[in-house]
Amino acid sequence: MMRAVLTIARRDITATIFSKGFVIWLAMPIIALVFGVLASLATERSSPSATALAVIDTKGDFVPWLQKVADRERAQDGYDRLRRRWQATRQNEPLPPDLTRSGDMLTGNDLDRLAVPGALDTIRERVNLGSAQLDKALHKAARTSAFVTVSPEAAPEAQAARLLTARDGKPGRFGAVLIIDDNDFTVLRQRKDANIDHITQMANTAWTLRALHLAGLVGRIDEIRSEQPTIAVKNIALSSAHNESGKQRGAAFATGAAMILFALISLLAGALLSNMVEEKANKIIEVLVASVPVPAIFAGKLVAMLTVSLIGVAVWGVMIGGAAAFVIAQLPVGLISTPERGWTELAVLGLAYFVCAYLIYGALYLGIGSLCSSIREVQTLSMPVTVLQMAILIVTLGALDSPENTWGQAVSWFPLSAPYMMAGRAALGTDLAVHAAAILWQLSFAALVILGSARLFRYGVLRSGPPPSFNQMFGLGKPARPATTER
């Protein structure tokens, strides 16, 4: 029997993994990723960039102040970003001295120091807040000027109009032009709806800065601001049981685990059904049934699809895991939290629940598949199971909020929801002994489903004889008619 199982499984595995469909199936995450990247690139390109600004300074003495404001804005933006990252990842740790003051409390001198290229990178490395890749946008912004200074002509407004309009009448490369003539500031824009708030704000700040400088007040203001006390924030450590953020993270893991399991099972169930229908369409099933016991065919097909799915999961795991490892390496320490029981244990438990879910649902689908002779029949018959599966997933996701209460326990041990629920609970850090018991229970139930489905399969593959009764399906009673009787 085992030999027959392996022979059937080997053929099915070979036929599946050397098919074009399998290669596409395997490449699905890459295809999705490539499409995602392309779509985001396309969106980035098509989205209108921030209003490009040209500055015409008739006297030429205002632009340096404008430049200073732009540099300080950028420095404060980068500084705030680092601060927010620290707060997101090291919630219970006090801010390091480099990041103690909030951005709006920094003095002009502070911002000027931070605006020096590489200054923020030095802080990020010093406080261990991830790789430079994370601040790519910031670096890009640092290389791009906030505005373009254009040499003034005799008629600045006519010059501005030319800058705003291309030769063919279409919008030119600038969205707005700021004309500075002593204390007269004029902004010309292409469209009424072009946002010029930032431009006017920059101009106003630059004017104030210049005015304060001319009045000799800049040093004094910086002095006063540097004396401003920082507001101390102290965190009270909570026990892990009441740690809301920890709970939230755990719930996210649990939901993720249950969803991944559901997606994989749904994907594989479809493949299993198609395989079965193809078998019947090819008429090879009669040769198989005449050669080996029906349960061996059934088991062979289950083993084959399980192997194929494990190959798929392994390949995806390596691809997605590799990509995730690369991304995580760029992230600050602590941003991606580790599940309570660690990644390895979670992966092993996830795999175990995947196998359980696969065996339960795979056997169900295979039994259904044996009753169908066309894809249309498959769709009709598998719909109730899919709906049931969806309902179970929804119930499971709801129950994951309170896994320890009666409802949570019921969902944890109800065989059809148990694999999803327990995969979720594995992420929440339930005791290993509970998982061992759950896996044992699920495997026992899977054996029962396989037994029943194999009987259904026997009836279904040749569509002969009355359908087996419930007792016959699970071997609980005598067959309705004796297999062999003397007359």
Binding site: R3, T7, I284
Partner: protein
């Protein structure tokens, strides 16, 4: 006598429909046995019961000495009526796969498959996908898959259907070769010429029951020897002169059973009528004649039984 198949009173119902009412089958080991019947007579269902694909509702079956056909599956080769192979497999692997299912180690199964393909003129197609083969070639591949593990019992369901005359002849040769190797061959057909030329013994089923068991000669002997008469002029009142006669294509050609008192008295009577005898010869009934008569008989009995039941 040792029987490869010994089935008694096999019965199978599908819902309210009786597919097989009572079929007896004794196939001596090492023989070629025909299993004849009209379409829907219950041949395929019986073969499926013999193979263990279906469980009978009644009766007993012993296949190669076992009541459980699957326990001797490795010693059985089966060609189903509805042919089927995996289209994406190549010819060699398709044969080897069936061999492996029947217990051959895969490597040996592949070697045998290769040899069989060479032997039967398909060596060049060994690595061709089934989907690229012609229907006849694919059918031949499946046939070879039936023999690859050198089974003791070969069951072929309508093996000649879909084959051209050349391949039909080759299949007959293969069946004889297998018998000479020592295998028992049971094949179902409704083409009498194959049964007549191949079978040592045969069984005729009709209306789900065994109606005849015996040799081809015995089947033919179930009908009396016929006399065919051709005259110059129509015979007046032929039924009185030639009991059991029926006219063939016109009023001067007659066919009737050989009279029990011989031909001489009949000849004398015919000469008296002055009909002018142009030709008269004796014809032994063919298997076809016997089959038609047996099936017609069974159908009549069945309809009488139905009428009686209704009454």
């Amino acid at each position: 006598m040792e029987y490869a198949i010994h089935a008694k009173a096999l019965a199978k119902r599908f819902g309210k429909k009786t597919a097989v009412a009572s079929v007896d089958l004794k196939v001596p080991a090492g023989s070629i046995h025909g299993f004849l019947g009209q379409n829907g007579a219950g041949k395929t269902t019986t073969l499926r019961i013999l193979l263990g694909i279906l469980e009978p509702d009644g009766g007993t079956r012993h296949i190669l000495g076992s009541q459980r056909p699957l326990s001797v599956a490795r010693r059985i080769g089966y060609l189903p009526e509805e042919r089927g192979l995996y289209p994406s497999m190549n010819a060699r692997d398709a044969i080897a796969y069936v061999g492996a299912l029947r217990g051959l180690p895969l490597r040996e199964a592949r070697e045998r498959a290769e040899a069989l393909l060479q032997m039967h003129g398909l060596g060049s197609e060994s690595r061709s996908k089934i989907r690229s083969l012609s229907k006849g070639m694919a059918q031949k591949v499946q046939l070879l898959a039936t023999f690859v593990h050198e089974p003791d019992l070969i069951i072929l369901d309508e093996p000649f259907s879909g084959l051209d005359p050349v391949n039909q002849q080759e299949l007959e040769k293969i069946i004889r070769t297998e018998r000479d190797r020592g295998a028992t061959v049971l094949f179902s057909t409704h083409v009498m010429s194959h049964a007549q030329s191949l079978c040592d013994d045969l069984v005729i089923v009709a209306q789900g029951r065994t109606r005849f068991t015996g040799s081809v000669d015995a089947a033919r002997a179930t009908l009396p020897t016929q006399v065919v008469l051709v005259t110059e002029r129509p015979i007046r009142n032929p039924m009185a002169l030639l009991p059991g006669t029926y006219m063939l294509d016109d009023k001067t050609r007659y066919r009737f059973p050989l009279p029990t008192d011989g031909l001489e008295p009949l000849l004398a009577r015919l000469i008296e009528t002055g009909c002018g005898i142009r030709d008269m010869h004796i014809e032994r009934p063919t298997l076809h004649d016997a089959f038609v008569a047996i099936v017609a008989d069974a159908t009549m009995i069945a309809s009488q039984a139905t009428e009686a039941e209704a009454a």
